[in-house]
């Protein structure tokens, strides 16, 4: 048995978003109008219509986490320049079900319990460093190629 939402979730996790051609394919496969696929894609929080960044940061905004002060992490990320771009995606999420470890932040799938601002700053700066290293590496390897070509 195939379910529309399961199939869309698979596409979402494969690509990090729902590409238009995939949505059209699902529309044909399930024989439902594309408008309904679009309504589902925009109704449920799990779907996005644009690609997510290389690093995904979730701040839990469940009751126990907010009462434990998780809102300040959003400010921290904003201040650090974590924007929705190709490097980073920030998404608040409603409860991971790890409430006794509140406040919880999930970075690239790893759950960090009892988070503090200073710890978050450390982890995110590390990600920034890695990103800039990667882009440096890209440049050097490109430079090497240029040199070779010359």
């Amino acid at each position: 048995m195939k379910f529309l939402i399961n199939s869309l979730l698979e596409i979402q996790s494969k690509h990090g978003y729902l590409p238009k051609n995939e949505m059209e394919r699902i529309s044909m496969e399930f024989n439902v109008p594309i408008s309904r696929i679009y309504s589902i894609a925009t109704f449920y929080n799990a779907f996005s219509l644009k690609p997510v960044g290389r690093h995904v940061i979730h701040v839990c905004k469940g009751t126990a986490c907010v009462m434990g002060g998780s809102e300040v992490f959003e400010d921290t990320l904003k201040q650090m320049g974590v924007l929705d771009d190709e490097d980073f995606t920030y998404q608040p999420i409603r409860c991971f079900g790890a409430c006794s470890l509140a406040p919880v932040v999930v970075i690239d799938g790893k759950v960090y319990g009892k988070m503090t601002v200073s710890r978050l700053k450390k982890i995110v700066s590390k990600l920034f460093e890695d990103e800039s290293k990667d882009s440096d590496n890209d440049k050097t390897s490109k430079g090497d190629e240029d040199a070779r070509e010359a």
């Binding site: 379910f3 779907f47 009751t63 601002v117």
Partner: protein, 595 residues
């Protein structure tokens, strides 16, 4: 076949083993790192189990060796250095009569059942969680699993329904509809039938469904199979939150295993009865916990609730009679069948029978999942089990529940009594609040939640909640007036009475209960002061030079880079300060003042 599995299970369960709790909460606390180290010693039998419930003591590891009972270590980083929490017999939490070899106890350590966290608990739903390896069907059978199904398959479906009816079991998802009655209605209706397990546990602060699916998935599958036999369904669905990847994985695997052993699929346990289960994942919409919205979602639509009646038991999935019960309800079924309805009905209050699982979190010393008999007082739960001090209120029932103030905490926990106080049982979230919590801020948080999660179908819910959020935001900024309170009450009344589904009907609860029990806090905000010092627009922070030791912890923890070092002490730049209170919370010398 059951006897053979049982024998194998008993050998494994009561033999030498070191068990690490690796549910989501355990993993987040570092259980996998502990597991990795323990597994290096290949002379030992190291296994993964679900959650014993005591989340604030995680990672939990227990050692069972040389014919002795299980010795539990708490907050384990290195097992040699970890503290002992207590010891237990692996069978003693289960209400079922189990065969087991005798194990020797410990004299030098306390028993786990005497620990304040476990003393008042009665485990039916959580009977196997943290005891068995979740995907080990022999161990499940050794703990009494599938004997209920075997017995049921020899009975008439009507007798099964009668047994569940007499037990007094009511739906554990929140509404509390009698389960047996629901089954009876579905049975009476003609045509193809379905059963559904609602595992779309969207309530922030509640995670019992996740824990049961991760720690004891067969108990849910067995319960659903019994339900399907009783009403005459051949197909079932588990609708589980996508945010719970481990729970999805476990239930999917457990279904495959049950099929392999003939407990699911064609001709179950060599009878004529056939039943199959599919897993459907939710996609992150709180409203899909409402049964008709959930059904719409399985059918491949957006999760908008439908008008009831007809109820799903009459016309549900694809228009067919459908029994939809919560994870916890399903997990209750096989103990009811095995121990008989009288056992279940002897627990609890007149109208609410059995036990209820709560996730006790917030400002408590002992946090985690607890299962207690219905009718226990809220005070016992919070102060004796949770060992909370300085409680201000307890928020029950998830985002659309209410806040019960300290002086009313002697209330008995059951469906009716909590409703009388303006709160609800809900799915069992319990968040303890203390004096550092602002009740207006709490109400704002929940209203915002409901506003975002409202599906938008009913105008009062969609627009009414948005209007209420606007007003309460104004109050938290100190710009409210006394008229606003009346307006809020009026809007709450309209939203609650004119919305279609449970979300809109109960969304005003947090506002109404805080207004009822903490009205003076609202009035203080209107006068321009937040008593708990939470609302950002109404506070200001300053560092007292004489007390500042120059340690710099505040600067490290400032999200806004608003703290600068000037002559070996620190100063807050008011222009940059976002008034989050981080510095106030981290300063060890009380050098940060809140004005």
């Amino acid at each position: 076949m059951l006897e053979k599995l049982k024998e194998k299970g008993i050998d494994e369960l009561y033999g030498d083993r070191i068990a690490v709790g690796t549910s989501t909460c355990g993993i987040a606390a570092g259980a996998l790192e502990v597991l990795e180290v323990l597994a290096l010693d290949d002379t030992k039998n190291v296994v993964e189990v679900g959650c014993l419930g005591f989340c604030s003591a995680e990672p939990l590891v227990y050692v069972q060796e040389n014919g002795k009972a299980a010795l539990v270590y708490r907050n384990v980083k290195k097992i040699e250095e970890a503290k002992v929490l207590g010891w237990f017999y692996p069978w003693e939490f289960s209400p079922l009569k189990l065969e087991h070899p005798e194990l020797e106890g410990y004299k030098e350590y306390p028993r786990l059942v005497e620990h304040p966290f476990y003393k008042k608990q009665v485990k039916i739903v959580l009977r196997n969680c943290g005891i068995i390896e979740p995907l080990n069907i022999s161990q499940y059978v050794a703990m009494g699993g599938y004997y209920a199904l075997q017995r049921v398959l020899e009975k008439e479906p009507e007798d099964v329904i009668e047994e569940v009816k007499k037990s007094g079991l009511r739906g554990r998802g929140g509404a509390g509809f009698p389960t047996g009655l629901k089954w009876e209605i579905a049975k009476k209706n003609e045509g193809k039938k379905y059963v559904i397990c609602n595992a779309d546990e969207g309530d922030p602060g509640a995670y019992m469904d996740r824990s049961v699916l991760e720690g004891d998935p067969f108990s849910v599958i067995e319960g659903m199979t019994i339900g399907a036999y009783a009403i005459g369904a051949e197909l079932g669905f588990v609708y589980v939150r996508n945010e719970y990847p481990l729970a999805v994985e476990r239930i999917e695997k457990a279904i495959e295993i049950a099929k392999k052993y003939g407990f699911l699929g064609k001709n179950i346990m060599n009878t004529d009865f056939s039943f199959d289960i599919h897993v459907v994942r939710g996609a992150g919409a709180f409203v899909c916990g409402e049964e008709t919205a959930l059904i719409a979602s399985i059918e491949g639509y957006i999760g908008e609730p439908r008008i009831r009646p007809p109820y799903p038991a009459e016309k549900g999935l694809w228009g067919k009679p459908t029994v939809i019960n919560n994870v916890e309800t399903w997990a209750n079924i096989s103990p009811i069948i095995l121990n008989g309805w009288k056992f279940f009905a002897s627990l609890g209050t007149e109208k609410s029978k059995g036990t209820k699982v709560f996730s006790l979190v917030g400002k408590v010393k002992n946090s985690g999942l607890i299962e207690v008999p219905m009718g226990i007082s809220l005070r016992e739960v919070v102060e004796e089990i949770g060992m909370a001090e300085n409680v201000k209120a307890v928020q029950t029932g998830g985002p659309t529940g209410g806040c019960v103030p300290k002086n009313l905490m002697d209330v008995a926990v059951d469906y009716e009594e909590l409703t009388k106080l303006g709160s609800i049982m809900g799915s069992g979230g319990m968040v303890v609040l203390d004096n550092t919590t602002c009740m207006v801020d709490v109400a704002k948080y929940f209203l915002e939640f409901s506003k975002i999660e409202s599906c938008g179908k009913c105008v009062p819910c969609r627009l009414g909640l948005a209007e209420m959020v606007d007003i309460i935001e104004r109050i938290t900024k100190g710009e409210g007036s006394l008229n606003d309170l009346e307006e809020l009450e009026r809007l709450a009344d309209v939203v609650a009475n004119t919305s279609l589904c449970g979300l809109g009907k109960t969304a005003p609860n947090p506002l109404l209960t805080t207004l009822r029990y903490f009205r003076e806090e609202y009035e203080e905000h209107i006068r321009g002061r937040c008593p708990a010092g939470v609302c950002r627009a109404l506070v200001k922070y300053r560092i007292v030079e004489d007390k500042c030791t120059g340690c710099g912890l505040c600067k490290l923890n400032c999200p806004a880079e608003a703290i600068e070092e000037v002559d070996e002490v620190y100063k807050i730049d008011d222009k940059k300060c976002i008034k989050c209170g981080s510095c106030f919370n981290v300063c060890k010398f009380e050098a940060v003042e809140r004005l």
